[in-house]
Symmetry: D2
Subunit: 293 residues, 4 copies
């Protein structure tokens, strides 16, 4: 039986680990805040006391951590993954990080005889629970194939993007579109609201026309209800747009849409909406137009 070391038990990680357990994998979990492991231990997980320990006993290590610097800690600290990595192991990182870091991790894992896949996901919390995530994966195709069962325990689809770093790049390109589409929806709704339209009707038109989008489906009616309970927080959206901006700067791609969206989410963060759903950007527009959307 394949043993999984699973590191990072946040909003996404916990249900992903639970799905691995349900599919019969042995899973050793580690999280910086230990309390988060309790429910998984009930489901049969074992507890590791450090990333090193989680990695040392595993065939495959899965990590999903909030940002570049937290990922660096988990991999490079004294009690980090790399310190305990044995040759022949596979590491799958599903964090949203910079492609530059993904490539560095891949090189350092390879230097220790392991294989690294950067494999961020789309699907958010609901998809993590339902096991319907889509993985966009950078790294060797052979490693991807060898770990199909691990991926498909957590998600419904694996898309191979290219060599290491490609998964991370795909995620940032994808999330740039998410952020822009969400801002587009909200800006259009602000025009409609200030223009005095019946708002459910406007949303109906958006969802039924060329303006339709996943973001309109996910956020439209929540915005009308003023419900900003977190599915994907504004702060994380902003983080990804910042990573996307640095990536684009490095690639030399002018990205005026991404930058315009980034400035808006930054205004939302500055207003204190970072820990609400990204749809709370609507509040920035509501203050501008002096009325509810």
């Amino acid at each position: 039986m394949t043993t999984i070391g699973f590191i990072g038990l946040g909003t996404m990680g916990s249900p992903m680990a639970a799905n691995l357990l349900r599919k019969g994998f042995a899973v050793a979990v580690y999280n910086r805040t230990p309390g988060k492991a309790a429910e998984l231990l009930k489901l049969g997980a074992s507890a590791a006391s450090s990333p090193l320990e989680a990695a040392a006993q595993a065939d495959v290590v899965v990590t999903i951590i909030s940002n570049d610097s937290a990922v660096e800690e988990v991999y490079y600290n004294e009690q980090g993954i790399l310190a305990g990595l044995k040759p022949g192991r596979t590491i799958i990182d599903s964090s949203t990080i910079s492609p530059a870091l993904a490539k560095r991790l891949a090189a350092d894992v390879a230097a220790r005889g392991g294989s690294f896949l950067d494999a961020p996901v789309t699907g958010s919390k609901d998809g993590a629970i339902a096991g319907t995530l889509l993985f966009m994966v950078g790294g060797s195709k052979e490693t991807v194939e060898a770990n199909r069962d691990v991926f498909l325990a957590m998600g419904r689809e694996i898309v191979h993007m290219g060599e290491n770093g490609s998964g991370a790049t795909a995620k940032l390109g994808h999330n740039a579109i998410v952020g822009i589409n969400a801002a587009a929806l909200i800006e259009g709704m602000a025009i409609a609201a200030k223009g005095g339209l019946d708002m459910p009707s406007f949303l109906r038109v958006v969802q039924g026309g060329g303006a339709a989008s996943k973001q309109a489906d996910l956020k439209g009616s929540k915005i009308l209800a003023g419900d900003y309970s977190v599915q994907f927080s504004l702060a994380l959206m902003l983080k990804d747009l910042k990573l996307g901006s640095v990536l684009s700067d490095g690639l030399g791609v002018p990205t005026p849409m991404l930058e315009a969206a980034k400035s808006l989410f930054q205004a939302g963060q500055a207003k204190g909406y970072g820990e609400e759903d990204l749809a709370a950007l609507a509040r920035v527009y509501e203050e501008w137009i002096g009325r509810r959307i």
Copy 2:
């Protein structure tokens, strides 16, 4: 039998008039360029020699014309609709025009004892042919109800947005989102392309994730194929963004996303891509990144 005066036989107007004929309406058609009527005459339409003549013999007049100034001509010229309008008639304008003009038309039609609906559509050419357009309508709810059969001969859904001008406002808010979402898709694809990703895989991720949108569905694979045959021209997209910008300026809504998109499509227009599909904005990015998307 209701007699329709139909004015404006462009990409959208011709199939809409054809659908009215197929549903059994008597239709008198007028177009500035007379040749465009030929096929409709074969389907049983009669030819009017002016907007006035088309309006004079009709119970309901439908107009769908390219822009504000062309609409003004058709309504206000000596041989225009208003000159031939009899009391009790209904005029449905499906052009994409400024809400200010829609309100003026409504007032001038009302002054002649008629009823005006601003009723732009979403659905593009394919929807016009299939009769699956969605109408977003401003004006009296009674007039909308009284003309359900006319609308449903051409489309699948009628959404009442509010008083006159609301249909036009909804269309501009909707199309602002269309333009931004299309630019988002293309910018994300440019990042992906410059980042060396497998592009069909990236598009798969976009369509399967939170970045999914109608624009991604409609344009994604066409962009990869370099197919910019017109469904909705870049020049018309730009026109609508300009109208949306003026509308937002008047309403006092800051619209940084719309403006960023407008500048991009303006660059596309300046490069000579106005008569291609709006997806030809991809060419602007392709020149920037020095390779095909």
Copy 3:
């Protein structure tokens, strides 16, 4: 002695008319709000009861009015300038209006045998008082030359830009730069303030370096003092950026900088700072960064 009809006694118009009186011109003044004429009457002006009356008795008419629609009223109303215009007269309009309206006014004045110059100014209130305005003038060079003494009674320099409409175009291009440079200053100061710099030192660096600008000189220390008493109001700045945006849209010039600035001033207007100086845009950034600049 040349008789001047002077219409529009606002912040700029009053001191301009006063300077004409001081230089010995006979001046008949008109303003919609009559009270504003009081001080000029003491300086020897006569009062006209309508634009028509002011124009009828004058050799040269000078107008400086707040916006396109107010200008249209003053020229085209029953008691407007054109109704009282005799052949051979010159009209100088120093309002900031759209080039399209300037061209229309020029044509309608010419049709009545007169000559029209669109001649907006730069220099603001202080320059109007000191008589050091710069006129950027569109229209026939001969008419400009024939009226040098009128211009130089109010300003220090006349720059001929080209045919009618060119003065208005120059003003909008100029003011686009003003708005962008002011926003640039404020954004740079926001970075500096949030970065914890000594702000007078930062301003010193800006004024002494490549970032120096007239806006930095005029607004920098006022912003540090929180002094937003009006020199040029935020609402008028926004008006000019909107006109500039429409002009650029018509010309087909992509203007991402102008649009970004316009969105910012729109946010300032929405926040209620329209009647303060344009430098009150700093307040928008102060709310974003959570501290004083």
Copy 4:
């Protein structure tokens, strides 16, 4: 006599080192490309074979190097400054780098008993030759005072901004304004050119009005002449805007103006104008408007 170790003999560094020699300092120079030292050796400089050697024999080390990674090399390599640094020495870095790196250098210099000042300059090549640079300095006020003679041999003014990192922050805030003002000028000129204005007249208006700026003075007539010989390259301008964007992201300051400018210069870089003067951004607009500015 104070001995200076001078590292970085580029466009700015060479004339700065020459001015130190002229004022009587002993100067040991190092540059990665050794040929660049030839002229300074004639003026009396001695040649160091590595940063370590230059630092080891000096009382004060001055560095001015192109970017973060080149600075890191010069300080941290085996033959780098830190390896040869003796306690009590002062290091002045006039490179334009990220405040984060400036703070790290300061800490590492302090750990070796030295004092570090981040002291970027404004004034460009001409100011470096004339010795009229302005230094914006972060670090201890005592260290600044103790080195006044060194600074004033190269420049005319020292502005103390605050603790270490403040000089770097000030430079990035300053250069953000430079980039935006330059883009503003060019965009305004593009509107004017497409609007058919007499361009020298327009520039006269800009320089005489509220739109006046150092960038208009430095670049306006050069743009009209199509002269893009480098004073400050487009690639370096873009580099500084990227650093400014990352800094603002870290500080949480929304910077829509900076981002709009960054996208434009990125388009210029993508078009191949990176090694021309930053004013070559005008070429991007020229292509958009289809005519010369």
